[in-house]
């Protein structure tokens, strides 16, 4: 049984850089000589739809996807997406989530309203949730698009990889012209959760 496997699910909205963040995360175990599998579904991601990626790593990883109830971590780039994927968490799973709210189609056309009690509902379920204003931190750094790396920085303190391994993974995956902003965003995110 592959009980040493760590399961991280990254969820967000098309355009938020969820897949790029997943590639950074998947690079870490690869650099550490571990087995890793990452699964993403393309298709309608650019059209405002939900984007979900699965990253699993350990000594030997078989299945490419995480099943409901199996995730150690749900990393949510958007508030409602955290709620929509909370059932993927294990009993002892952790949510690290951006507080940003992006309305979806039914909300935009006035048929639904954006739920305003997501944080309290997840708390009522006993979910170990860490809410962060990653978009605000990224905006302060000059580019809200770096919110993905801020969130990754905040999440980095939950895993055992050392900080320089993360920096190395960022340099491997992120194009050179964006690396300085992303390193700053990562450091700022990491400060949010460092204990």
């Amino acid at each position: 049984m592959m009980s040493d496997t760590t399961n991280v699910m990254l969820v967000g909205v098309g355009g938020q850089g969820t897949i790029l963040a997943s590639r950074v995360l998947a690079q870490l175990p690869l650099d550490a000589g571990l087995d890793v599998k990452m699964s993403e579904v393309h298709g309608m991601a650019q059209r405002g739809g939900s984007v979900t990626t699965h990253v699993r790593f350990g000594q030997r990883v078989a299945a490419p996807t995480i099943s409901p109830g199996q995730a150690h971590f749900v990393l949510a780039f958007e508030c409602m997406e955290a709620a929509r994927h909370a059932h993927y968490l294990r009993e002892d799973g952790v949510i690290v989530a951006n507080t940003r709210r992006i309305p979806s189609l039914p909300i935009l056309i006035g048929r639904e309203t954006y739920p305003d009690d997501i944080e309290s509902r997840l708390a009522a379920r006993g979910a170990d949730a860490h809410w962060l204003d990653a978009s605000g931190v990224a905006a302060d750094l000059g580019n809200v698009r770096a919110e993905n790396t801020v969130l990754l920085g905040a999440f980095s303190t939950f895993l055992a990889f050392p900080e320089d391994a993360w920096t190395q993974a960022l340099r491997t995956v992120i194009p050179a012209k964006h690396i300085e902003l992303n390193l700053a965003a990562f450091a700022a995110g990491r400060r949010l959760t460092q204990r």
């Binding site: 049984m1 592959m2 009980s3 496997t5 909205v13 098309g14 590639r23 998947a26 690079q27 690869l30 087995d35 890793v36 599998k37 990452m38 699964s39 993403e40 579904v41 393309h42 298709g43 309608m44 650019q46 059209r47 405002g48 739809g49 939900s50 990883v61 078989a62 299945a63 490419p64 996807t65 099943s67 409901p68 109830g69 199996q70 409602m80 997406e81 709620a83 929509r84 909370a86 059932h87 968490l89 294990r90 009993e91 309305p103 979806s104 189609l105 039914p106 909300i107 935009l108 056309i109 006035g110 048929r111 639904e112 954006y114 739920p115 997501i118 509902r121 997840l122 379920r125």
Partner: protein, 636 residues
Amino acid sequence: MKTLMSGNEAVARGAWEAGVRFASAYPGTPSTEILENMATYREVRSQWSVNEKTALEAALGASLGGVRTLCAMKHVGLNVAADPLFSSSYTGVNAGLVIVTADDPGCHSSQNEQDNRYYAQAAKLPLIEPSDSQEALDFTRMAFELSEEYDTPVLLRVTTRIAHGKSPVTTWERAEATAPAYERAMTKHVLVPAVARPRHTAVEERLARLQAYAESSPMNRIEWGSTRLGVISSGVAYQYAREVLGDNASYLKLGMSFPFPAALARSFISQVEQVIIIEELEPFLEQAVRALGMGDEHPIVGKSLIPRTGELDSRTVALSLAPALAAANGRPAVADRTPANPPTDGVDPEALGAFGTFGTPATGELASLLAPGRTAEQAVGRPPMFCAGCPHRGVFYELGRLPVMVSGDIGCYALGAMPPFSAMDTCIDMGASIAAGLGFQTALDILKPDKPKRTVAVIGDSTFFHSGMTGLLDAAYNDVGVITIILDNRITAMTGHQENPGSGFTLSGTPAREAQLEALVRALGIELVQTVDPFGLAQVREAIAVAMGSPCPSVIIARGPCALLKRLAVRRPACQVDQDTCRKCKACLRVACPALYVEGENVQIDAETCAGCGVCSQVCRFGAIKQAGAAEGGEE
């Protein structure tokens, strides 16, 4: 040093390493990245074909001509290419030919979840199923050897999770390949009946030799664990089986699953107590296993437990197996689950002891897989929608207001079927809109000859080139008054911006001859051809009215670039709502634009998101939406 590669990248890399020099495809999720990656290799001439049929015909021609060739398509694309597929089995190859079918269990982005393994059986071609990226690379290389050694095209099947899943890969160097010089071989390549008959015999003989190869192919292997349970599996399903059962089972892991290695399977089954066939979709392996007739001695289960619909995951496999394993452990047997309704509610704790174990309770990963499912939080869904600045928005806004039947097609514009537009009646297959619209129009004409409703076919530029042209020729030839709107957004958008014959560029980015839609549709016999700017609602409305005024088949070309296409991007100032003029009627929300949102009583426009297309301003009857810097808004 290993690198992380998707299955699609690995297939392209493997083909390159095998010395491939020509590759062809029509884009389709989840296969598209295979050719996009092939195009990065200088040694390979890679092309987008207009459809899968021409892609495979070109590939077969190149193979006969003497260069190793790869041809890729999504599962439904192989339906389009089925004609040359069956013929290629008879002609055989010269240089190696590998055909990739990317199946989509779970319909992540497809109109069905057909299991293309049956194509290998039907066309009598060897079938290869990698189960991770390393196998995708290695098996692709081996497939080219196999193709040449047995004079056969090889069908390589990936599924969405293999194609788009990434895992570590060790790569190799490229080895140039040489095939015998081309020689005319009338008795092999000219499939007239007198040639085809003996070729069928040759194909059957080849199949027998391929089966002998499958028995000892390194792609097929046995992994021994507990012999109380023997799993037979292939592709990604093998990974789920491994995840759930680990070393508590033995595995017959099939990388080459057709022709079925019967002797290997017999040997495996004879050494295990019970057999479970774990495969996605159809009982393809199960039928072959059951035909061995060993079920009396070694109980066999498959689709009676494992769902036949949708894609598998570890939890589905675990929950499906629990009752059978409990029964095997001497606990009361549980009735078969309904394949169409995979269990989601957790299992009786009694059954847990069955896993792994045949004795000890499930722990760790398995326990989490078997735990009663948490219910999902109630939250609003997030369906895909037209982007801000999408040229399709205005067309579907207008179509939704008309009493017409809308015959849809495959592309982003299928979103026109969704609320609030709800402006589509059918979406069938690539290119179907015009011919299906012709048929629907004919039915309307027959049933209500006095006052027939009109049918409007909507089709994208790339889909029109793919297989819409023939339907339009049908309409012109048979004089059926279907109105065709070609949504010409200058790119194949849905699959992520692939070039096409109308876009002006090839797959490798070099300038190309640009197919002229207006001239093309006129040449097919359409006399009423109108070109409109889809961002001008009045133009769209007027053109549809003119078309409806004519009983003849006609074409409207709605030409406006995809909002995400950078090279044709037009910078326009964002729109703003003048809250003093605004009557708060919210009619503008009916264009379902991601830039428009409600804040209290007011509709606001997010300037960052807004592309300034002005469609919302034309919907506002009070002129309350204006482009920043513009003098006037609404037009009605």
